[in-house]
Symmetry: C2
Subunit: 169 residues, 2 copies
DNA sequence: CATTGATGGTTACATTTACAACTACTAGCC
DNA sequence: GGCTAGTAGTTGTAAATGTAACCATCAATG
């Protein structure tokens, strides 16, 4: 059977990306899920809070990125667990600023190396050249979507409202 | 940039891939979901069946990739819709082979160009060089995971030895 | 200040998904 | 044959998710 097979999958970008994302996450998902009892949105919110002193729910929605209900529920769960503390903004009492507690920071500090080790184990067979090619390829898309400098497309990017939350730097 | 902030996210591969996969899929998801009433597993099964004459549920699980319950329910839905027909294997009656009906092939032929057009619109700003870099970067990972030659790991599912599966060109 | 419209965030409900049994069947062994 | 173990695929149930409605607050206008 010569392959008359149309090579749709091979070249269809969303499919390729989703497949690779899932394969890459297969090992690490267990770490935050089974070992630490976090859902994926919770883990993502945790990571983002670990990289910024304080973020509003809206800012988290833009950074994670996720719909506000997912962020809301993740924040509730993390708060209940004592990893996050929220304080109401005094200028605009609809807004609340979420930040990691010391306990939350310790938790992230514990989980992060596990995640990195699992990922490194997965990528171990790659040569430095291959890693560079991979990085460059992803950077192309990140520039396209404007997420390259997560720090750059920051709160300003989400800043249609330009709320007063402290900028990251 | 005086960031003390560890750039975990920037360099953490699963996170980068998941983010890009989601951003890339944002536009196309609507096409198969709203316009054609397919769930993502259903769409994935449809695509895979379109590229192979006949696949068992197990083979689909490996190719999609997805857990067998997702594939099972996707097949039920596609069968009910008349896009897939399953026939029981005579050598092993636990096994059934799924294939697209003519109607299913027409459906895929209708959806596919919509998906490709939406993706192309998204990638329009990229230069040929950037596209090549993107492709090379993803190919690095695909080789690592052995998914490069999707066409090779056929119904037998044999080629999972992880060797260099036949590069599909 | 009352009214209107917009926004940050939460809650409610329907759909999807994950995980764990479960059924049907095959295969090996005595 | 009858027993056990293993595999292909399905179904039941609890958790997770998407969508839409909702509450509280703010800002603008009369």
């Amino acid at each position: 059977m010569g392959k008359v097979i149309a090579l749709f999958l091979r070249t269809y970008l969303p499919y390729r990306l989703n497949l690779l994302a899932e394969l890459t996450s297969d090992g690490t998902r267990e770490i935050y899920r089974k070992r630490h009892g976090l859902t994926r949105p919770e883990w993502r919110v945790l990571v983002n809070l670990a990289e910024a002193p304080s973020l509003t729910a809206s800012a988290l929605c833009a950074r994670v990125p996720a719909h506000k209900t997912k962020v809301s529920r993740a924040l509730v769960a993390l708060e209940r667990r004592g990893w996050v503390r929220r304080t109401v903004d005094q200028q605009d009492r609809r807004v609340s600023h979420a930040a990691l507690t010391a306990q939350g920071q310790r938790a992230f500090a514990a989980i992060r190396p596990e995640m990195e080790a699992a990922t490194e184990a997965l990528l171990a067979p790659l040569t430095p050249q291959e890693r560079a090619r991979l990085d460059e390829g992803l950077a192309v898309l990140e520039r396209l979507f404007g997420v390259a400098g997560q720090g750059a497309a920051e709160e300003g990017g989400a800043a249609q409202g330009g709320d007063g939350a402290a900028p990251l730097e």
